[in-house]
């Protein structure tokens, strides 16, 4: 009798076209040219796009922007920086931004004159009013969060305006695209290897830090970012799979054990970064203090637009790659049924390698995006991990469109939820949403029900 692997025909319904190649060996010659090509396009796009003049200047400075809980700039707030033999007081400008040039790197005491804050605005964290700041080189960005009213930020009703809603929608869209970058990689790795990767957040962080290193070595971010993506894809993606996951698959380590391993890896990576780079947030030297462009009621920084557009292109390229390219089709075949894919001549290990490269590259992109619009910190990826999981769970574990849809929904939800709940709780909202979806539709919005037996 013929020894064909036992399969259910329906498993192939959506992908019937690749079965035509059965019998022939599907050649899985990886075409790195495709990915490199996409990256080169990215670089070119970066160079072509005109950035708004950046506030970044030579020298060392403490910079920041004060914004109220409703996103409105806080103007004319007085800040004082003190160090040995150095004192300077400045006021925030019309956009709420401030910049205090300091003579050299070192420890500075930054205090805000609470009396100059608009009435009704208070610090979310009381310790923000006076803090000591370690400045190394370049711009040191300082973050402040404010609350309104005496009950500390829980009153948000007053800010239920169309201007605010449209700002949040745009922010949500951008945040959704950022999450999608991470979630697509997370889902590809899950789809092909079954591994729920709790160290995916660290791929973002590693990408952001790779770019920081290149940036601090003197490369402009426009060069450093694509270079960091390539390095991350190879080093943290391909390398990680090669050194850790491939041997574990060969040992037949179970998926549950592997999940615990991803946790151990995440902890290790995070604290290695903390050890070598320290705990204070860093910023890229270019485009740090950009002020927003006004589109009607919505204010967006040029860098956000550039990053979001490039990210959307990268995601679209990934989807097209999965649909059109030979290795992309092989990837979907492996996600569908690794045993059968292997039996039809697909080199499963090779597909997994490619998926790690792609996943790490996209994650690095997300990390640089996040690091450029916010800060680069040793635990930045960890903070985004659960939001990525929410996106993936929402869309359906293992489905690529699900990850994208889920990411956009979560991004919007997180931002819009601040209309009702305090900003500090916005992640909580997304995680609640995920749990509720699991109750109602465990396979996610676009996922399909699993076969049993």
């Amino acid at each position: 009798m013929v020894n064909t692997p036992k399969v259910n025909p329906s498993d192939y319904a959506p992908d019937a076209h690749y079965i035509k190649a059965k019998g022939k060996r599907i050649r899985t010659r990886i075409r790195p040219r495709f990915y490199v090509g996409a990256l080169l396009t990215t670089i070119a796009a970066c160079l072509l796009l005109v950035f708004a003049p950046s506030a970044a200047a030579d020298g060392t400075a403490i910079v920041g922007t004060l914004k109220g809980p409703d996103g409105a700039a806080l103007t004319n707030v007085s800040l004082t920086v003190v160090a040995e033999g150095f004192t300077e007081t400045v006021s925030t400008g019309a956009d709420g931004a401030f910049r205090i040039e300091v003579p050299k790197g070192g420890k500075y005491q930054l205090s805000v004159d609470a009396a100059t804050l608009p009435t009704g605005i208070t610090f979310s964290k009381a310790e923000d009013q006076n803090r000591s700041i370690l400045v190394l080189m370049g711009d040191k960005k300082v973050l402040f969060t404010f609350a309104s009213g005496t009950d500390g930020g829980s009153t948000t009703t007053s800010s239920f305006t169309w201007a605010r809603i449209s700002q949040l929608l745009v922010d949500g869209l951008f945040f959704g695209i950022l999450i999608a970058l991470g979630a697509v990689g997370l889902n590809l790795i899950f789809g092909t290897t079954g591994l729920t990767n709790f160290s995916h957040g660290e791929l973002l962080t590693l990408g952001a830090f790779t770019a920081i290193v290149l940036n601090e070595l003197g490369l402009n971010l426009i060069i450093a970012a694509p270079l960091a993506i390539i390095i991350s894809a190879i080093l943290w993606g391909w390398g990680q799979n090669k050194i850790l996951w491939k041997p574990l698959r060969r040992r037949k380590t179970g998926l549950i054990a592997s999940m615990v391993v991803t946790i151990g890896l995440a902890i290790t990576i995070r604290y290695i970064l903390l050890l070598f780079f320290g705990g204070s947030p860093r910023s890229y030297q270019q485009f740090a203090g950009q002020s927003g462009l006004e589109f009607g009621p919505v204010s967006i920084t040029p860098k956000s637009i550039v990053f979001a557009v490039l990210a959307a292109i990268a995601i679209a390229a990934t989807v097209i790659w999965l649909q059109r390219s030979r290795i992309g089709k092989a990837t979907r075949a492996v996600s569908d049924n690794p045993a059968l894919a292997s039996a039809t001549g697909i080199d499963v290990e090779r597909v997994i390698s490619v998926v790690w490269i792609l996943g790490a590259g996209l994650a690095a992109f997300a990390g640089i995006y996040l690091g450029s619009t916010q800060d680069v910190t040793w635990n930045m990826g960890q903070r985004l991990l659960l939001v990525m999981f929410a996106a993936v769970t929402l869309g359906g574990l293992g489905t690529i469109y699900g990850a994208i849809v889920g990411a956009l929904v979560v991004g919007m939800f997180v931002q819009l939820s601040t209309l009702i709940i305090p900003t500090e709780m916005k992640t909580v909202g997304a995680l609640f949403l995920m749990i509720i979806i699991l109750l109602v539709r465990p396979q996610g919005i676009l996922g399909r029900r699993e076969r049993v037996g």
Partner: protein, 296 residues
């Protein structure tokens, strides 16, 4: 020859007058299923109009790879939910019952990919099969005197079964250290611990070496002699000839033939289904390949 035991003769004579057509009704059915449909995407993996299983018989469910046999098993045992259909066991309606309830009612299954519980000892695998254990309740488990007596009795019964299945020497070993064939035996013995009325074996002979196959067949006959009904899935036609009283043939989700093994083997539709499947590897979903003459 156990095949000619009392129960075998009874089953075969009861089935003698049953018409050899798909969906034929049996004199004393233990399991009756009607209009069972399970779709995956746009395809019907299972689409069974009517089927009955005679009590006390060994019934084989055969068909080429991908015919929907395992899916049908999953549906009947509650491990998967059909899109349509109803079925009853011992006259009791079984639709939408959780799989553990199905098992408690006396309809116990095994799996195609053997599910020996690797890091449990062989004897513990066996004891897990026993029904109605007081010590399985959380509070009672803390007070051994409540369940010790029952445990001793279950252990005695398990030892008898292990001896019968020649696993007594492996009693204290981890189940994970057994060979593939021994795991099949263990899984069958474990199912018998629950004293099922209907035992459903999913490819009991798959991956078992020929020497052990004979002994497996003897065990299956023995189960019938003890009064249980056996329904088993197999894709190799020759395997079922020796032991089954009745054969049901599935292809592409439907039941295409029924009858005693000798009759079914001669059925041209069955032969076509098998040959067709060899040529097309059961991956096509069209029903045309069933008609004679189209096979190349």
């Amino acid at each position: 020859m156990p095949a000619n035991g009392q129960r075998a003769l009874e089953a075969q004579s009861a089935l003698a007058t049953v018409p050899r057509v798909p969906g034929a009704s049996k004199p004393d059915p233990i399991l009756v299923a009607s209009s069972i449909v399970r779709r995956f995407g746009g395809l019907s993996a299972v689409d069974v109009d009517h089927v009955e299983v005679q009590r006390g018989s060994i019934t084989a469910l055969i068909g080429p790879n991908g015919a929907g046999k395992t899916t049908f098993f999953n549906l009947l045992t509650g491990f998967d939910a059909p899109d349509e259909g109803a079925w009853s066991f011992n006259g009791r309606s079984m639709g939408r019952l959780s799989p553990y309830r199905v098992a408690r009612l006396g309809m116990v299954r095994t799996f195609q990919l053997t599910k020996a519980l690797n890091r449990l000892r062989v004897i513990d695998n066996m004891l897990l099969g026993a029904k109605g254990q007081r010590g399985e309740r959380l509070w009672a488990s803390l007070f051994p005197f409540l369940w010790r007596g029952q445990e001793v009795k279950n252990t005695e019964r398990a030892d008898v079964l292990l001896k019968r299945f020649s696993l007594d020497a492996k009693r204290g070993d981890f189940a994970g250290s057994l060979s593939g064939g021994q795991r099949k035996l263990l899984e069958m013995a474990r199912a018998l611990m629950s004293e099922p009325e209907l035992i459903m074996l999913d490819e009991p002979m798959a991956g078992v070496n020929p020497a052990l196959t004979q002994s497996l067949l003897q065990h299956i006959k023995m189960i019938r002699e003890e009064g249980s009904t056996v329904l088993f899935v197999e894709h190799d036609m020759d395997m079922v000839h020796d032991i089954s009283d009745w054969v049901i043939v599935m292809a592409q989700g439907k039941i295409i033939a029924e009858g005693p093994p000798g009759d079914v083997m001669k059925n041209s539709e069955v032969i076509d289904a098998y040959l067709g499947s060899r040529h097309e590897k059961a991956l096509t979903e069209s029903g045309e390949s069933l008609t004679t003459g189209e096979i190349k």
